[in-house]
């Protein structure tokens, strides 16, 4: 039996056994469904179900590798062409996936190697730094640190933007762990459903800080003096000043490290020293807000803009823009299994988000690792060049190298098989 058939049967068994626990999304009958089967890498789209019963039968019958439903509602979700579906509106969806942004832990667990020049390394890489070709193979891994970063982005999204700025009602928000490297948040409100892609782009810009103009917010040079932003201006100006205050209240060494960080500000040491010398005066000035002339030695308009861009980066949400803008996207169905991990797409209530730990969740009802087993083990052979340490359910597995034969608990075996980095022996 091939590993894919084995995994398919496992998924079928899961859907059979847990069918009562799989939630029905709102307006299920108006949504389009999509599936990726185990047999080949194709998306089977344009499927509609009149009730959840039909969906569950499909899942039990076929045990697909990936299950998706649309954020959009249609009168004819099963129509083959978009123009015939009779679009009715689309939920606002935010996808936060650590694949798309930098986390320091990636330097430890994400590997790449170049298929052109054989160079290899760790961390996020789009092309080979040696031969500059894009022919690289990447192995992206997960750890509790990067999943925490993703969770923090969701918390920022909810508590810094959706509730205070957009007035989003908690009952309209649906949050889910994606089953792999991130979280989804869906806002189901009639008003948001009516927005077109252009209008959604405006919301995305607001959430990310993309396309912000500091000049429009008030930054300008006049008579050789820099006039900065004001905390009194509701919106992004206020967010920026509050963030600056927060940073300036940190110890000097910490501020220095943030300002030197190439992924955020990337200032040189001279500018950092100058900034730190003036930091108390600057903090007092922006906190009082009576005058807004920003004067720090070495900081002209361009350096202030660079500084503000860094601040915006710290405030903005690291979301996958096309997902929020595209009104015909499909997203993972809650309660379904992720074919690249074998983990469940787990819905989480906002008040339980803080304690939620996808790789070691104590609450059985919220645990995405559905094949958890302490007693059953499986023998595998590693087929990938090298694997980093995997920490699941409090235990560490690996690192492993190609050809290594291992015996691991069932849930770890399912994870490694879904990742296609090992085979059964």
């Amino acid at each position: 039996m091939s590993d894919n058939i084995f995994l398919k049967r496992l998924f079928q068994a899961y859907y059979q056994e847990k069918q009562k626990e799989i939630p029905a999304v709102s307006s299920l009958e108006s949504r389009e469904f999509g599936f990726i089967p185990w047999e080949k890498q194709i998306m089977i789209r344009h499927i509609g179900f009149e009730s959840q019963k039909g969906l569950l039968s499909y899942l039990i019958d076929r045990g697909p590798k990936h299950v998706y439903s649309s954020g959009s509602l249609y009168l004819q979700p099963e129509a083959q062409h978009m123009e015939n579906k009779q679009y009715q509106g689309c939920d606002f969806i935010v996808d936060i996936d650590v694949d798309h942004f930098y986390t320091p832990c990636k330097n430890k667990h994400d590997f790449w190697y170049c298929n052109n020049c054989e160079a290899k390394g760790t961390g996020m890489q789009e092309k080979c730094p040696k031969c500059e070709k894009s022919k690289i193979t990447k192995l992206n891994w997960i750890c509790d640190k990067c999943l925490d970063v993703a969770k923090n982005e969701i918390k920022k999204l909810v508590y810094d933007f959706l509730i205070p700025d957009f007035g989003t009602d908690e009952k309209d928000m649906r949050i889910a762990f994606s089953g792999h490297r991130g979280y989804h948040l869906k806002v189901e409100s009639e008003e948001l459903r009516k927005l077109n892609s252009d209008e959604r782009r405006e919301i995305v810009d607001y959430l990310t800080g993309e396309n912000i103009s500091f000049e429009v917010l008030g930054l300008r040079e006049k008579s050789l003096m820099i006039h900065g932003l004001s905390k009194e201006n509701i919106g992004w100006s206020q967010k920026i000043i509050k963030k600056i205050e927060e940073i300036l209240c940190k110890p000097k060494t910490e501020i220095g490290n943030i300002l030197l960080d190439k992924n955020i500000f990337g200032f040189n040491s001279n500018l950092v020293t100058s900034f730190l010398n003036y930091k108390n005066d600057f903090l007092e000035l922006i906190s009082k807000g009576e005058i807004n002339v920003w004067a720090i030695e070495g900081f002209g308009l361009s350096n202030w803009k660079r500084f503000l861009r860094g601040i915006v980066k710290l405030i903005g949400i690291e979301l996958d823009e096309p997902v929020s803008i595209d009104i015909h996207r499909l997203i993972r169905y809650p309660g379904s299994l992720h074919g690249k991990t074998g983990f469940k797409v787990q819905e989480i209530e906002l008040n339980k988000l803080d304690d939620f730990n996808p790789l070691d969740e104590p609450d059985d009802k919220l645990d995405p690792i559905v094949f958890n087993s302490k007693n059953i083990t499986q023998k595998l052979e590693i087929v990938e060049r090298a694997l980093p340490v995997t920490k699941i359910k409090g235990s560490k597995y690996g690192p492993y190298v190609q050809g290594e034969k291992i015996e691991v608990p069932h849930h770890v075996a399912v994870f490694l098989l879904c990742k296609e980095v090992a085979k059964t022996i």
């Binding site: 700025d165 008003e191 209008e199 509701i234 992004w236």
Partner: protein
């Protein structure tokens, strides 16, 4: 809720028109127009409608003698029907612009905020009227610190619907005061958004059923007054359209370089990109829209942007493709001037500064659009080539 009839006479584009004038709404448009001309037999209706079109064709900022009377309701409806049967995008855009500007003026002159409140309610805009006005920020750009106060806040989805087509940077949601779902707006900004709503109401969507339109037009042209009005408008347009029609296509042929024919505004942006300098958002948009209008391959456009210091291939590709899909028109010369992108003076470019001589109108004309610049340059170059060719041929004959 519906508004007063006086308000409807002043602003006949309000949804309540359908309630108060349900007798009109239920009528066949041909019968309605016949009746309208019978109701106003002294030519005033035709006169006032002509004024709107003339103002639009002459780029005027206002429609003189705009009156809030019952005739204004008939006038509005007939203008809408005319735009439909004319089925001409430049005309529709110009009339929509002029008419909506007049509405802006009328609304600005409203002394009673209650009218503005009624209008927003009638349009089903979710908003709050704040009494007393509340503070939401400060304006530090003025000599004296100015506290920003307003009585109006609009729900953000309605704000987005109204503002999405306005590309001014300061209208972007992230540059505005947003709190608990509402965007704080100054009265004049709210009115500007209403102006945009009116403008969009008058824009004629692409008509797919040409046969039906033709039949409808034929029926309407049987009405003498309508036929005269329609004919006059088209005659006026013939005299003016050269100023506005710049939606021609210049094909991009792989390997052939037409960049020498680019206007100085685009040349300047390209030069700065080549020099690795950053360009602002509006310049990026303009460049993309411009190159799309010339059918430049998307990949080539992305390559141009790859010189920018903050280049991100994935994002650029998405945005360039998005702009192509939306078929945005590049900015006109007047917009480029207001955005400080126009380089006519700095470059001392003769075509930009002096325009061209129109044989048809027997007069010197100013350039209105950068795409026109290319057409003109290509035309002149082809004439030059023809002249050179003839010269060589003549010399060979000798």
């Amino acid at each position: 809720m519906s508004v007063s009839t006086d308000l409807l006479k002043h602003y006949p584009w309000l949804p309540s028109l359908q309630i108060y004038y349900s007798n009109i709404a239920s009528k066949d448009p041909t019968a309605f127009i016949e009746e309208a001309f019978l109701k106003y037999p002294n030519g005033e209706l035709e006169h006032r409608i002509s004024k709107i079109f003339k103002a639009a064709f002459n780029n005027l900022e206002e429609i003189k003698d705009y009156k809030a009377d019952e005739l204004n309701i008939y006038l509005y409806l007939i203008v809408k029907i005319l735009l439909y049967v004319l089925n001409n995008k430049p005309i529709s855009n110009r009339v929509a612009n002029t008419y909506s500007k007049q509405i802006y003026k009328e609304l600005i002159e409203e002394n009673d905020d209650a009218n503005l409140y009624d209008i927003c309610k009638d349009l089903k805009i979710k908003f709050d009227f704040l009494d007393p006005p509340i503070e939401y920020g400060v304006n530090l750009n003025k000599e004296k610190r100015e506290i920003l106060k307003t009585s109006f806040k609009i729900y953000f989805t309605d704000y987005l619907k109204l503002a999405a087509n306005l590309h001014d940077e300061y209208r972007k949601l992230l540059h505005n005061a947003l709190s608990e779902g509402y965007v704080y707006v100054q009265k004049k900004d709210l009115i500007r958004l209403l102006q945009e709503h009116v403008r969009r109401k008058l824009i004629v969507e692409e008509i797919k059923d040409e046969n039906n339109l033709e039949k409808f037009r034929k029926d309407l042209l049987k009405i003498r007054e309508f036929k005269e009005l329609y004919g006059n408008i088209l005659n006026n347009w013939e005299l003016k359209k050269e100023d506005f029609e710049y939606s021609f296509k210049i094909g991009y042929k792989e390997g052939s370089d037409i960049s020498n024919n680019f206007p100085p505004c685009i040349q300047d942006i390209l030069r700065r990109i080549q020099e690795g300098m950053n360009i602002v958002h509006t310049e990026r948009l303009f460049l993309v829209f411009f190159l799309h209008a010339l059918n430049y391959p998307t990949e080539n456009i992305i390559e141009i942007f790859s010189n920018l210091p903050d280049f991100d291939r994935k994002k650029t590709k998405y945005q360039v493709e998005f702009a192509k899909k939306k078929e945005y028109t590049p900015h006109s010369c007047s917009t480029l001037k207001s955005l400080n992108i126009c380089k006519a003076k700095e470059s001392k470019d003769k075509i930009c500064l002096e325009g061209y001589y129109s044989k048809k109108l027997d007069m010197q004309k100013k350039l209105s659009h950068p795409l026109f610049y290319i057409q003109l340059k290509q035309y002149r170059n082809s004439n030059k080539n023809k002249a050179n060719k003839t010269k060589i041929e003549k010399e060979n004959e000798r």
